[in-house]
């Protein structure tokens, strides 16, 4: 699975996520099916499950925060309520159902994407996106982001360390120092960008982004992705509602 062409993996991932999010929340059987398929894929790919779980968990707080509000907002049959002063906090059945839907769908979708990124090198993913007609500028931006995010954070760490080894002032003036540091970080990054641009120009960059051609898709890759999508579709049908 690691060697499967990034393009078909991208397409398969997007299709699966689409199938997941459009499944009605009541189709428990479908969701079970999705989960089983994903677990099977995970087993085949030999990615450690902890890795995926950790990534999924990293995104969950955001999802939960939004989802947790839903039971209270949605109107409908009240299950239980808390009255406090002039306010009534009510949890509705519809709201809960919505919460469950958002929760299940988002965790499965994130699982899907985590599986994609865990089995695909970032540069392959970028090139896959590019040959799927994702604008070249976006791909190039992402690639720079990937390349220089580490340098950027290293820069920040170094500055923080340098600051810590010199500052004895009370915490009150911290904010001002921090602001100055952020400014410096910006200037540094800006100058780095300038030098990188010069380096690109030195090797003939003239503003147009040239990319190499792509090899043809292999039949095995297509078959694998098609198979995964078909399984998802089957699971969805099994849930009864299309």
């Amino acid at each position: 699975m690691h060697r499967t062409d990034a393009r078909v993996k991208c397409v398969a991932c997007v299709c699966c996520v689409l199938l997941i999010v459009t499944t009605p929340a009541t189709a428990v059987l479908s969701f079970t099916g999705y989960a089983l398929i994903l677990l099977a894929l995970l087993a085949v790919s030999r990615v450690p499950i902890l890795h995926i779980v950790r990534r999924t968990l990293a995104v969950m707080p955001f999802v939960l925060l939004i989802a947790a509000c839903l039971p209270f907002i949605k109107r409908g049959e009240v299950m239980w309520s808390v009255a406090w002063g002039g306010w009534t906090l009510a949890v509705t059945r519809d709201g809960l159902r919505l919460f469950w839907g958002v929760f299940v769908k988002s965790s499965l979708s994130i699982f899907c994407v985590a599986l994609l990124t865990a089995t695909t090198r970032f540069d392959c993913l970028l090139r896959g996106m590019e040959s799927l007609r994702c604008p070249r500028l976006v791909v190039m931006l992402l690639s720079f982001l990937y390349r220089y995010a580490f340098l950027f954070s290293d820069d920040l760490m170094r500055m923080l360390r340098a600051k810590r080894s010199r500052s004895f002032r009370p915490a009150r003036s911290e904010a001002r120092i921090l602001a100055g540091m952020l400014g410096m970080l910006f200037v540094r990054s800006y100058e780095r960008a300038e030098r990188v641009y010069l380096a690109m120009c030195s090797r003939g960059f003239d503003g147009t982004i040239v990319t190499p051609g792509r090899p043809a898709l292999g039949a095995a890759d297509l078959a694998l992705s098609g198979g995964v999508i078909a399984c998802f579709a089957a699971a969805r049908l099994a849930g009864g509602i299309w």
């Binding site: 090198r121 970032f122 540069d123 970028l126 690639s143 720079f144 990937y146 390349r147 220089y148 580490f150 340098l151 780095r192 030098r195 990188v196 010069l198 380096a199 690109m200 120009c201 030195s202 090797r203 003939g204 960059f205 003239d206 040239v210 990319t211 190499p212 051609g213």
Partner: protein, 245 residues
């Protein structure tokens, strides 16, 4: 007569913020020659190198292999002159080693097989074959330096300009890197504080200080002039000071 590899006539340059960096530079480098540029920090060495392929443009004339450096010739010039930057992080800007080395050839719109061949050859020359799929940011500094050199070699330039090629390398990496430099047939311009390196590689040396060429001459003679060296915050290299070998 064959035109010289590099010909600079009264070149002056100031950075956009008004810092004057080069003043009235005149310079000739013959084909196949290896020239050293030495001088204290802030002398303008890096700035001068950037003029060789026209990424910076000052007042005056720069000619490379008989071609004027201007917008019209930019493409040809970039192929003729390779620039190895001081900081490899600036030179390696794509996610993988392969893409970095292939960047130049790609820009030249070479066919795919040609690109692959060039990448392979360039990486072999610097002893980095097999690193194609590695991420650039996970290489050691010495490896980054070597890949930087490969990115330039992939274009097979006639002239290669090096900015501090040996800085931050451990003694062994330094020696290896020098051996790669020596094996290159191109015309070489080397800006560095590593005077032993200059002594070893360059027949001719230019002393740059405060944005002007103070003097130039035969390397041993120039680097052996104690008064001159110390006046420009440099030192006579040990191997020269300890007498003739």
């Amino acid at each position: 007569m064959e035109s010289p590899a590099i010909e600079i006539i009264s070149l002056s340059f100031s950075y956009p913020d008004g810092v004057p960096a080069l003043h009235d530079i005149n310079l000739n480098v013959a084909r196949g020659e290896t020239v050293g540029i030495v001088g204290p920090n802030g002398a303008g060495k890096s700035t001068l190198l950037m003029h060789l392929n026209g990424v910076l443009r000052g007042k005056g004339t720069v000619r490379v292999m008989g071609l004027d450096v201007n917008d019209e010739n930019a493409r040809k010039i970039r192929r003729l002159v390779g620039l190895v930057f001081q900081d490899p992080e600036d030179q390696l800007f794509t996610p993988t080693v392969y893409e970095d080395v292939a960047f130049g050839p790609l820009q030249m719109r070479y066919p795919r097989e040609e690109i692959d061949r060039r990448v392979r050859d360039a990486l072999r020359t610097v002893g980095m074959e097999g690193f194609e799929r590695r991420s650039s940011h996970h290489l050691s500094f010495g490896e980054k330096k070597r890949v930087s050199l490969a990115t330039v070699l992939a274009l097979d330039p006639e002239i290669i300009a090096f900015d501090e090629p040996t800085s931050n390398l451990d003694p062994c990496s330094r020696e290896e890197f020098i051996s790669y430099l020596m094996a290159l047939p191109a015309t070489k311009v080397i800006a560095t504080h590593d005077l032993e390196l200059v002594l070893q590689l360059c027949g001719h040396t230019i002393l740059l200080s405060g944005g002007t060429i103070v003097t130039e001459g035969e390397t041993r003679e120039l680097l052996g002039d104690r008064a001159l060296m110390e006046k420009h915050r440099l030192r006579v290299p040990l191997s020269l000071a300890l007498g003739p070998r």
